[in-house]
Point group: C2
Chain length 411, copies 2
């Protein structure tokens, strides 16, 4: 494939599950590129890498509304995707991809996502080298799961942690009000299929004076039903109520997903749902108490109304740094957050190699989990606490967050 | 039972499911009593009427922290209960109750709750007359279900409506981002066992430009599975995705709760949970699309972080008015909200007779529901919109709402 002298256009795409602040990374990147390389034309792919493959590309220079709207809207303004790229020996696929990049004079490729997206970005970077195409491919970290390797934490997670901490504190006060003559147990199911960071963040709802969360169920700890039931009975006798926060990825003693380990219903269908109803079932069969359960699902990861200011700042910063990396000729790398101190919280950005990041998973370390397996130690709390600091409420219009969307124009 | 000349102490209690602003009604009442009748001693029963029966009564004059904390904390600061009083011919019960009131020189009784609580307050008022006890018993309206008769709306509801509108708008943006290659359907289950007001409030997430909520499933409309499935297929072809908000109290064609109409599981237990997993099951058996579902449960009714300012103002106002009613010698009544105009929204307070309120239920009227049965008409939207206006965020401390609790001292 021929090289061009001027290949200084850029493309940005969003990938994987979205967050409350992924658009803030887009804003950081775009505004930094506009400042440092004003002649660079910036495109955004519609629905991640799929938009590039399908040649559905937005020309951001055509957008009339202010790009600052990106700071206010959750989820993926340009659309996201779940799509695994073929291995780089699939030359047909990659030659086709680079034809499209070449046609649009794209020399900078930015991919905003988690583990799988780091894999996509790494493949694009390696395929470019293999095919002799001048491309600087930079991954921008984003995942509510907080499970990316190398980086201290992931943009998107802090806001979910704030949402979970707030919601569970509120629900605990509700339960505390009702437990004398009504409900004694509340189960909240949160996301986290392989890593328990989100469930762990429920620990933040506790304070020195008040115990609001009593059991945290992590995928990292095999679930012991008997110990759990004994534990919540003790909670009820001590506090009057028990609040349980469970990762969707909780595993049974054999390492299988707990939510899938039930039998089938009378029609032979696999029983439905979720860890929360499964735990509620366990409780109803063993304890004579009234329970309630909730599943926060998408509500938690798109809750821009409870965004952490720290998370917002970091999301913008990784976007800006990605621009600098690319303009400095880096490829196959990702800006990573480095923690310099817990209190006061200080951080800066470094460079991570995508070979160390793609398809890796960082779970909650053992020394953050207490001996019971149901709680988070002080070390874990100290890690989590800085990430939820500060509020940045969106603009409200007529009683609801405005979340005004950009006008986007396909090339 | 002997009458006393000086019976001017007051007792306040919270009852039934709590809300984000029930404590604001307590604040309105207490501050108004303190101003208008400074020599009145104010008590609060622990856990509703149960605290009175058990003689577990807080003396609020002993509380050292500022009562303004009541404006900031969701749920019931004094504890709530679910307890149905016996009929007033049970003279043992009521004589006992009035002995306790008499012992504490209580002449004013304030009961803050919904339908059942209005029934409690009415019975106390009637029993007092029957037994010749000088008592002014006033109900203070509170219910997220918005189903109280006579009053135009109920304190507590506006904040839930704001929570649901916000959450579903956020989740819809998430779904919109993902629908190209992942999830096409999102189901949110909300509270409302007999009245669909909360589900109806999801309509507020829609705007002139954006359709974010496609199907609203109300208890008032018998659920037609075929029509529903056809409808969401059309949504997906038109918008790429479909967002469904369902009342927990949705009913099947025979009028039974839809969530309970499934079979039993292989162990003979009634299948668990909620409308959302039931709808997800229906979708999975009939459509080839990926879906997600959430159950907001207690998260919705205790979400003080998203309180409507209008709701907050009304919650305080009904508390203040209850004080005035009692001091004016009224009994067996409740302050009710009267709507004077939609736009600009104007309201005042009137007096409702508990005989017209207790055990009654106000459901969503037919003329608010569109012909499909899945949507809310403009009339409904105009009713709902004023109730979510304005924000009053709580104080945040260390990244989370502080929700500092009062120090409370039993007599």
């Amino acid at each position: 494939m021929k090289k061009k002298n001027i290949m200084n256009n850029a493309i940005y795409a969003q990938s994987g599950g979205v967050t409350a602040v992924i658009n803030a990374s887009a804003y950081g990147l775009i505004s930094e590129l506009a400042q440092l390389a004003p002649r660079t034309k910036i495109y955004a792919a519609q629905n991640g890498i799929l938009g590039l493959i399908d040649e559905k590309i937005y020309d951001l220079s055509q957008t009339k509304k202010s790009l600052k709207l990106l700071l206010e809207s959750p989820a993926g303004m340009f659309g996201s995707c779940r799509f695994k790229l073929p291995t780089i020996d699939n030359s047909d696929f990659y030659e086709n991809l680079f034809k499209i990049l070449d046609k649009n004079s794209i020399g900078y490729f930015f991919y905003n996502g988690g583990n799988d997206s780091a894999d996509t970005c790494l493949k694009v970077s390696l395929a470019a080298k293999k095919l002799g195409y001048d491309l600087y491919a930079i991954a921008i970290p984003k995942t509510i799961d907080n499970d990316l390797a190398v980086t201290d934490n992931c943009p998107g997670f802090g806001s979910v942690a704030k949402y979970v901490g707030t919601s569970v504190r509120e629900a605990a006060l509700d339960l505390k009000s009702m437990c004398r003559s009504s409900t004694n147990i509340f189960v909240l199911e949160v996301m986290g299929r392989h890593a328990g960071w989100i469930a762990a963040s429920a620990e933040l709802a506790n304070s020195e004076k008040n115990k609001y969360v009593h059991k945290i169920l992590l995928p990292e700890v095999r679930f012991n039903e008997d110990k759990f039931l004994t534990g919540i009975e003790l909670d009820i006798s001590k506090y009057g109520f028990s609040v349980i926060v469970a990762s969707e990825g909780l595993r049974d003693q054999d390492g299988n997903f707990y939510s899938e380990s039930s039998g089938k219903d009378s029609f032979g269908h696999k029983q439905l749902g979720g860890v929360a109803p499964k735990l509620a079932d366990l409780i109803s069969k063993n304890l004579q108490v009234k329970y309630h359960w909730a599943v926060s699902d998408y509500l938690q990861r798109s809750a821009r109304h409870l965004t952490s200011e720290t998370d917002m700042e970091q999301a913008i910063a990784v976007g800006r740094m990605a621009a600098k990396f690319a303009l400095n000729g880096r490829s196959g790398v990702m800006p990573v957050i480095r923690r310099l101190s817990n209190s006061p919280y200080q951080w800066d950005l470094g460079e991570g190699d995508l070979n160390d990041i793609a398809n890796k998973e960082k779970t909650v370390p053992d020394d953050y989990i207490d001996d019971s397996g149901f709680g988070i130690r002080l070390e874990g709390r100290e890690y989590l606490l800085p990430l939820i600091q500060g509020e940045c409420f969106p603009r409200f219009l007529n009683g609801l967050p405005a979340y005004e969307q950009l006008d986007l124009h396909l090339v």
